[in-house]
Amino acid sequence: MSKVKPAPLPPDTVIGGYRIVRKLAAGGFGVVYLAVDTEGQQVAVKEYLPSSLASRGPGELLPQVQPEKLSLYRLGLKSFFEEGRALAQISHASVVSVLNFFRENETVYMVMNFLEGASLQEFIITAREQKKQKVFRESTIRSLYDEVLRGLRIVHQHKMLHLDIKPANIFVTDDNRSVLIDFGAAREVLSKEGNFIRPMYTPGFAAPEMYRRDSSMGPWTDIYAIGACIYASMQGYPPNDAPQRLEKDRLSLALSRLRGVYSDNLIEVVEWCMSLDPLSRPQSVFALQKELSRETERSYTKLTVAEKMRLQFDNIVSDNKKVMRKSTNAGTKFR
């Protein structure tokens, strides 16, 4: 296992007709660069270069893969292709689009639209640090998720599931569009250790069936994650993860803290999306869109004195949990 991350390609390297400007991000799966095409158009280029399986010295072009890791390397390549295949079929303003796919330097590259802006995760962190009662305004939440759901609906129409929806994978552009990114997780990925394949999920946003990885996954699995994202957009923190919830479900309790701050309807939508039983959730994005766009008069139910007391008591006992939740953040896993 190489502890050293493979070096990114240096600026001004030309690959497949694209000139690299700088590295945007690096994760377990590879490196994302900002690049320009021959017409000067900015693009994002994702290079397949799993850090646990391949190494590359500074200034070099070709990655080195140890012979015993070659088959895993190729296996990972398959997931990379899956991402390309999935995105290639979709063209929608709310889904990141892939423009080209090519092979060079003994690895493969995926060219995507370059998006300027920040992930929803960054917005949530900034917003919650202001320590206001609300992280986002309800109208902001409703319109943001309306857009995200339009994109997700197209994804589902193509018989695909995203399977890793979380604030870090919802990108808010400078021109105010929200775009679903990172479909690489849609399948399977290599674990950090690089020696076995395991399904990937982000605690807090992954539905219980993601842990079982069985045939009960469906649109409702992504819908659970959407519910968790809305929760994080209201609360500033991700919800408890599914195994924790299966043991002791504190979701309703946590949501009741938001009563009076957000409308009853929005709170109910989150609870509905995050039902532990897949069948109790909205079964399609359409069903959820309908509910979310219902702009009837919002009613707010204030907490009773008894409820407030119970909440306070809960604050004391759940202190330990909070520390843990902070450390997982809004799903900081970036690949």
Partner: protein, 299 residues
């Protein structure tokens, strides 16, 4: 090669839909598959999905751009699907194996071939008449074949399927030379359980596919009532006239060595085949082809 295709799967009154269907094609060959995951055993939908993915993966490998040895392809893909299911069950340490029926058909060089195991059916309709259909691997159909009374027999009892510890029994059929306007329909028992052969034939003959197929499925759902089984139908018409734009597939639109599929790959067992250089090049070509098609659709 030109064909229209139309597919629908409906859950009916069941808790989930364990039917799976899909098609894939290269420039000169088309594959159509339908599987009905069986109740009474675990993860029927997974068995059906594995069967489809195995067929799709095999087809992608074999169709270059034609399959050539079609019967051999169909039987080896079927056995591979069976083994994938067994392997899946073994890896998960399951006490009972997931099971599925299967019907698959390949069309190339103007001929259609098919294989089936269990009670999912294939019908060939020509000039308003049923040219042929598969015979189910069920006790009911077996007894009927022997000329015995069948009223008291449960039609749901099959003597073979994919995924059971016993080796699957299957029937290969074809080649049947296709004529312009021929219709081939694959369906799960959710359709034929309540809609008679004559009705299927009549409906398929009098309307375009995109009307006939939903009509048949609606009829089955209506008759099946609140406990209706999953109803899945995948039908195609050979070399259609140009007016059916919406559903028509012309394989001439795709380049050599490229493969298009509605079947989601990414088998749980991705180690099934290793990527060699040719496979990598092929994947890249396919992705770029898909990008091009998507871009075209939007202009």
């Amino acid at each position: 090669m030109k064909f229209s295709v139309y597919q629908i799967s409906r859950q009916g009154g069941r808790e989930r839909n364990e039917d799976r269907m899909g098609y894939a094609y290269t420039r000169e060959s088309g594959l159509f598959v339908l599987a009905d995951g069986m109740g009474g055993h675990p993860e029927g939908a997974m068995a059906a999905q594995l069967a489809l993915q195995t067929f799709s993966a095999y087809f992608q490998k074999a169709a270059n751009p034609t399959v050539r040895e079609v019967p051999e392809f169909l039987s080896s893909a079927l056995m591979a699907a069976h083994h994938q299911i067994i392997r899946y069950a073994a890896e998960k340490g399951m006490l009972d194996t997931p099971r599925t029926t299967l019907v698959a058909s390949v069309m190339e060089r103007g001929h259609v071939y098919w294989v089936h195991c269990g009670d999912s059916r294939l019908y060939v309709v020509r000039n308003g008449e049923m040219l042929t259909r598969t015979r189910d691997h069920s006790y009911m159909e077996q007894q009927a074949h022997l000329g015995r009374a069948t009223e008291h027999i449960n039609r749901n009892i099959l003597f073979t399927c994919l995924g059971s510890p016993a080796k699957p029994v299957f029937d290969l059929s074809g080649p049947v030379q296709l004529m312009r306007g021929d219709r081939v329909l694959l369906c799960s028992d959710g359709l034929w359980g309540t809609v008679a052969d004559e009705e299927i034939t009549a409906e398929l003959s009098k309307r375009p596919l995109e009307q006939a197929v939903p009509e048949l499925v609606e009829l089955a759902l209506k008759r099946g009532g609140p406990r209706c089984d999953n109803v899945t139908v995948l039908a195609m018409e050979w070399e259609t006239a140009d007016e059916f734009q919406s559903t028509r597939v012309s394989t001439e639109d795709i380049e050599d060595g490229v493969f298009a599929s509605t079947i989601q790959s990414g088998t749980p067992d991705s180690t099934m085949e290793d990527l060699d250089d040719a496979a990598i090049e092929k994947s890249i070509a396919e992705i770029n082809e898909a990008i091009r098609r998507t871009a075209e659709r939007n202009t």
